[in-house]
C-alpha cells in the first residue's frame, strides 16, 4: 500500500522520551444520573498503541471524546505530554481551562471518526491542507506537499481533486486518516473507524493503519471490534467495563488468557 519513500514525510512530533504521554487522574464523567466514567485512572506511554475494548456503553467513545476536548470531565484531570487538557495552572492552582489553552493543547491530538466526517464542501486536497495552513500556519505549498505524501501513504494519490461524496466509504476514511495525520499530532484517536464500512472495504483501511503503526512513532489510542487488528498492532489492551479499566495487558495475555471472567465473557461474545 505505501511506498517507503512517502513515509519520511509523515514523521510525527518527537516522542517525549519513552515515558507517559497520556494520563487520566480520577476522571469522572456523568450524563445526568448516568455515571459513565467513574474515577478512571490510566496512562499511556509515548509511542504505544493501545486498544480499548469493552461492551457497548462502557464509555470507550467517551474517553476519546474527552481526550479530543469534545467533552469535559465532571471531575479529575487529563494530561497529555504533561500539559493539562482541561485545566490551566494559574498561581500554583488548577483552574478550568479557557478556550485558548484548550485550542493550544488540542493541536497535539488528532481523531478519526466512525462516520469519517470529511468536509463535503472541500475537495480531498483541501480537506487535508485546510487546517495545516490555517491552524499551523504552513504555506500552501508546504501543506500540499505534506498532503501528497499522506495521500500516497493511504493510496489515494489520484483522488486529490474529488469531492468526498465521489469516494467510497473506505476511501473517505483513508482521507480522514490523512487529514488527521497532516496536523502531525502526537496522539491519534481512532473510534471504530471501520465499523461504518462495507466488509470488503475494511481491510484497506486497516492496512493503512497497520502501516502507520509500524512506521511512525505516533501514539495510537484505538477503539475497535476488529480483534485481529487489535492483536496485530497493540502494545497494550485495556478492557473496560462499567466506567473502569478492569484488566489490561499485552494482547497475547488479554486475548488468550485473561484474568477476569468478565473479559473472557466479552471476548467469547465478540470473537
Amino acid at each position: 500500500m505505501s511506498a517507503d519513500s512517502s513515509l519520511s514525510k509523515v514523521t510525527v512530533n518527537p516522542a517525549v522520551d519513552g515515558s507517559e504521554l497520556i494520563r487520566f487522574d480520577k476522571v469522572t464523567k456523568r450524563f445526568g444520573a448516568n455515571t459513565v466514567l467513574d474515577a478512571l485512572d490510566f496512562t499511556v506511554s509515548s509511542g504505544k498503541h493501545v486498544t480499548l475494548i469493552g461492551p457497548s456503553g462502557s464509555g470507550k467513545t467517551t474517553i476519546l471524546r474527552l481526550l479530543m476536548t469534545l467533552a469535559r470531565p465532571d471531575e479529575g484531570t487529563i494530561r497529555v505530554g504533561g500539559e493539562y487538557l482541561t485545566h490551566e495552572e494559574r498561581g500554583g492552582r488548577l483552574v478550568p481551562a479557557g478556550e485558548k489553552h484548550v485550542r493550544e493543547v488540542r493541536k497535539n491530538i488528532g481523531m478519526v471518526f466512525q462516520q469519517f466526517n470529511l468536509f463535503p464542501n472541500m475537495k480531498v486536497m483541501r480537506n487535508i491542507t485546510e487546517a495545516p495552513v490555517h491552524v499551523l500556519g504552513l504555506s500552501a505549498d508546504e501543506a500540499e506537499e505534506r498532503a501528497r505524501g499522506l495521500l500516497e501513504l493511504v493510496g489515494l494519490t489520484e483522488h486529490a481533486d474529488k469531492f468526498p461524496t465521489q469516494l467510497s466509504g473506505g476511501q473517505q476514511q483513508r482521507v480522514a486518516i490523512a487529514r488527521a495525520l497532516a496536523m502531525r499530532p502526537q496522539v491519534l484517536l481512532l473510534d471504530e473507524v471501520t465499523s461504518a464500512l462495507d466488509p470488503e472495504l475494511v481491510a484497506g483501511v486497516l492496512d493503512v493503519l497497520r502501516d502507520i503503526a509500524r512506521t511512525t512513532d505516533i501514539t495510537m489510542l484505538c477503539v475497535t471490534h476488529e480483534m485481529n487488528f487489535a492483536r496485530d498492532i497493540s502494545d497494550d489492551v485495556l478492557m473496560f467495563d462499567a466506567g473502569r479499566v478492569i484488566e489490561s495487558g499485552p494482547p497475547e495475555k488479554i486475548f488468550n488468557d485473561p484474568d477476569q471472567e468478565r473479559t473472557r465473557q466479552f471476548l467469547s461474545a465478540v470473537l
Binding site: 464542501n121 472541500m122 487546517a131 461524496t165
Partner: protein, 223 residues
C-alpha cells in the same frame, strides 16, 4: 394607454425593484446577524436576539413603516420615504430570514463541528470554513420565498406616497379611469419581477450547491 403613462409605470417598477433590493440587502444582513446570534453560547445574546425576532415578527411592517415615516419626524428625524420603507421592510423580513438562517445552521450535523474542533479550527474558522458553506445552500429556497413576499410587501410603501409601482398605478388609474387595464399591467409587472427573482435565486442555489460538491443533486429540480 398613452406613452407617458407607460413611462410612469416603468418608473414605478424601477423604484419597486430598488426598494426590494435595498430592503433585501438590509434583511440579509439582519438575518445573518440575528440568526447567528440565536445560536450563540451566551444566553444573553440568544435572549436579546430572540426578543428582536418576536418583536419584528409580531408587528406589522406597515405600522412600522408609518411609525418610521410619520412618528419619527416628531422625535426630530425625517426619513425619506424610500428609506423609511427600506428600514421597515428590511427589519421585518430580516426577522423572518433569521429563522431561516438559524434553521440552516442547525441542519449542519454536529459531527461536522466536531471534526472541525478536532482539527483545532477556531470558532470563527469553523463557522466560515465548515458550517456556513454547508448551511447556505439550505437557505436558498426559503430565502427565495421570503424575497417574493418582500417584493409584494413593497406595495405597502405606496401608502407613504413613494412612487413605486402600486402608487404610480393609482395615479395612472386616476388620470385614465382604466382600472382593469392599469391593474392588469402591474399584475404582469409584479409577476415578471418575481419570475426574474426566482430564476436568479435558483442560479445562486445551484452555485452554492456546486460549491459543496452537490452539483448533480441541484440539477434534479427537487423541492
Amino acid at each position: 394607454m398613452t406613452g407617458p403613462l407607460w413611462v410612469l409605470l416603468l418608473k414605478g417598477a424601477w423604484i419597486t425593484v430598488q426598494l426590494m433590493l435595498y430592503s433585501a440587502a438590509l434583511a440579509a444582513a439582519v438575518a445573518f446577524g440575528i440568526g447567528l446570534a440565536r445560536t450563540s453560547r451566551l444566553w444573553i445574546v440568544r435572549f436579546l436576539s430572540g426578543v428582536y425576532v418576536e418583536f419584528f415578527r409580531g408587528t406589522s411592517a406597515l405600522v412600522l413603516m408609518f411609525w418610521l415615516f410619520f412618528a419619527l419626524p416628531l422625535l426630530g428625524w425625517q426619513l425619506a420615504g424610500l428609506w423609511a420603507g427600506t428600514l421597515a421592510l428590511g427589519l421585518s423580513y430580516g426577522a423572518y430570514g433569521s429563522e431561516v438562517v438559524r434553521g440552516a445552521l442547525q441542519s449542519v450535523p454536529a459531527a461536522q463541528r466536531e471534526a472541525a474542533v478536532a482539527l483545532s479550527f477556531s470558532p470563527w474558522q469553523r463557522l466560515r470554513k465548515v458550517i456556513l458553506p454547508q448551511a447556505v445552500p439550505e437557505m436558498m429556497p426559503p430565502f427565495n420565498n421570503l424575497l417574493i413576499e418582500l417584493l409584494k410587501g413593497t406595495a405597502l410603501a405606496s401608502l407613504l406616497s413613494i412612487g413605486e409601482l402600486t402608487f404610480e398605478a393609482k395615479l395612472a388609474r386616476l388620470s385614465t379611469g382604466e382600472s382593469a387595464q392599469v391593474y392588469g399591467i402591474i399584475l404582469v409587472m409584479y409577476f415578471v419581477i418575481a419570475f426574474v427573482v426566482t430564476r436568479v435565486m435558483r442560479l445562486l442555489e445551484r452555485r452554492a450547491k456546486a460549491s459543496v460538491g452537490q452539483a448533480s443533486l441541484a440539477g434534479g429540480g427537487h423541492r
